[in-house]
Amino acid sequence: MDSDVRPSLAVWTFASCDGCQLTLLDCEDELLPLTGRLRIAHFLEMSTAEDSQEPATLAGTGPYDLSLVEGSVTTAEDVQRIHHIRRISRRLVTIGACATAGGVQALRNFADVEAFRAAVYASPEYIATLDTSTPISTHVPVDFELRGCPIDRGQLLEVITAFLAGRRPNISGHSVCFECKRRGTTCITVAHGTPCLGPVTHAGCGALCPAYGRGCYGCFGPVAQPNLESMVSQLRHDGMSERDVLRVFRTFNAASPEYAPVPGLAAQGSTEPPAEEEPR
């Protein structure tokens, strides 16, 4: 039976917006051909049942040849579940800023989560959540991390193709600046003095924002060894206020350890008090 020889793919989600797994469904041209080469064994957003006719659950039985994991770990149950998923996965690849850096929800790591809970929920005691949002690699070994909020479709296909071919994904670690050069975009910082995080941001998007006249805001997270000191002084030079510098680093990849040297960023519990509003 040919369905038995196709490697199996599982897609898992933790705290996230589902955008990274949706990227797979956005591969319109490749989706059906891909299913000829891979057996989609577990993908809740797409299928009610696994091929094996297991009931739909949050954690299948596997084993799976390739697991794509989206989202960050924010609950005690998540911790259990990611260990289980690691056990039943031969290869485990994280997709997106949530899974590789804690995501935008890691802003809680800088704040008082009790106060957050009370700001959003009238009965915060029903809400079981950890005080932190952590990347998958904090909990289990990860075979490859794909960056981006959201990930890039082309890079996702490269990861899957590389897996099928048994090789390492060909995804380089240079900065957005390189992609601007390749794309032929004039540097917006040099030409217009627009503050841009390109020099310290991991490539992958194809240097989108500068092509649209916007400074990079770092959605692909840091390059391996960002020179943050000179980046921060350049941003100031280009007119960014202290507060805006802090905010731009403290967004979708806020918990990335590479950003720690940004003045004021690493300070825990130093953020503004949460909304004071009528409870609900």
Binding site: F43, I127, C149, P150, C209, Y212, E272
Partner: protein, 451 residues
């Protein structure tokens, strides 16, 4: 478990919906005692961490609430901030915004129709199996979806979390020539969309009716998406549509729509003046159907939805797939109209200087009405954020629908339903409403109910 009497049915993970949810159903002596949609998405606390951010940030940050309707968040956030600042964005910028929103509509609605919902009507677990006997239809759906994504990619920079949106407009406005390739793709998508309406109208639809109140934006003369005033069609209304629609000014939204927390869900449950209600395709069609683009209106009539111009209303949640298909046809036709008439704006955005104020806005996300409210200081620092997403609003209505559908199956003739059949029925009932669980914004971890 016996086939009659009391039983508890749990479904841990709902598939083919956006985000994470489960179901819990309790039946005592043949009567549905409880039907719960359990939303256990972990909380992400957006409203809390928006406080202290700059007034330009909500479009980028709130888009990350949902990867399937980021533009809905961006458009609503922009309007709410602009309203606080006393700025109105009109002319070609407003048309471009609408074009981007139509892109999302086309993408998201065709995703739901072809990949998430249609497999139910053929008894398939997914679109991959559906493609084995309906390959043409699935490929057509993917083509339409691609046309929607192409708009988002061209105008927004990318299909998920577009980068080209800012308060006041865009970072960069396209030159007319850049939109030409989109028009070619959309012309094909228009034929495809009409074909999809015909395809889904031939499905087998179980009898069902949601008879509670319906909530959608209303802007007389246009099928309201990013404009107008929230409006309510009363419970049970349908034959005299227009006369039973009452306005609910967006500034008064939170007086009428009240969210409360329930132990079984991380999403807050909304009530409209104390009742469950439905927002989304059925509500929009009921409230604005008469203003659909003529080609979509014609397709709706042919598909047997009745003539919305004479007040016909569709209240069968199973048929929402037809309404969605009609809405795709409308969005494609409207996107083409905008592209054909496009004159670039003189500047890609208008300045939105901050001031100490509060602003709110609502628009129609593909899944229903989405409401944002922000308060800011004089320097634009946000002091409050409030977001009411569509799925949280629909949660109580979905539970009501579940209860009713299961009860009518239990009371109906024929073999007693076994658990498997009831589970399938419940899953379908939920999927009819296209819940976007990740949208339900304020979320948590499951508190298990042991029945």
């Amino acid at each position: 478990m016996s086939h009659r009497g009391s039983r508890v049915l749990r479904l841990d993970a709902l598939a083919r919906v956006e985000g994470e949810a489960g179901l819990h159903l309790t039946v005592h002596d043949g009567t549905v005692a409880e039907a719960r949609l359990r939303i256990y998405e972990p909380p992400r606390f957006f409203e809390a961490f928006l406080v202290g951010r700059g007034h330009g940030e909500p479009p980028d940050i709130t888009s990350r609430i949902c990867g399937i309707c980021p533009v809905a968040y961006q458009m609503t956030a922009c309007q709410a901030v602009e309203r606080a600042c006393g700025v109105t964005v009109g002319g070609p910028l407003a048309e471009l915004r609408r074009l981007l929103y139509y892109g999302e509509w086309i993408e998201s609605q065709s995703l739901h129709i072809h990949l998430l919902h249609a497999p139910d009507f053929f008894g398939h677990p997914s679109a991959v199996e559906l493609a084995r006997d309906q390959r043409g239809a699935v490929e057509r759906g993917l083509r339409i979806k691609q046309a929607g994504n192409a708009i988002m990619e061209q105008l927004g920079g990318r299909a998920i979390h577009p980068i080209n949106v800012r308060i006041g407009g865009f970072y960069r406005a396209p030159a007319p020539a850049e939109l030409v390739p989109l028009a070619e793709r959309l012309r094909r998508a228009h034929d495809d969309a009409l074909e999809t309406v015909r395809w889904v109208s031939g499905f087998d639809f179980p009898d069902a009716a949601y008879d509670g109140p319906l909530l959608a934006m209303r802007d007389p003369g246009r099928y309201a998406i990013d404009s107008g005033t929230p409006a309510v069609m009363a419970a049970g209304a349908g034959s005299n549509g227009a006369t039973s629609v009452g306005a609910l000014p967006v500034e008064e939204f939170e007086h009428h729509v009240v969210e409360r927390q329930v132990p079984h869900s991380t999403a807050l449950v909304s009530e409209l003046d104390g009742h469950h209600y439905l927002t989304g395709s059925l509500a929009r069609y009921a409230i604005s159907g008469q203003w659909l683009h003529p080609s979509a209106l014609e397709a709706a009539r042919e598909a047997g939805l009745g003539d919305p111009a004479t007040g016909a209303v569709c209240r069968n949640p199973f048929r929402s797939i037809i309404v969605r298909a009609v809405e795709v046809a409308h969005a494609v036709a409207e996107a083409l109209r905008i592209i054909d008439a496009y004159e670039p704006p003189s500047r890609p955005y208008v300045e939105v200087p901050p001031r100490s104020a509060t602003g709110c806005a609502a628009t129609e996300a593909p899944r229903g009405l989405l409401y944002h409210r922000y308060a800011m200081d004089a320097d634009g620092t946000l002091t409050l954020a409030r977001i009411v997403p569509p799925t949280a609003q629909n949660q109580a209505a979905i539970e009501d629908d579940l209860r009713r559908q299961v009860q009518s199956r239990l009371d109906g003739p024929g073999e007693p339903a076994d658990d498997e059949e009831l589970t399938a029925l419940c899953e379908r009932a939920v999927r009819n409403h296209d819940p976007c669980i990740s949208c339900s914004a304020h979320f948590l971890d499951l508190t298990v109910e042991r029945g």
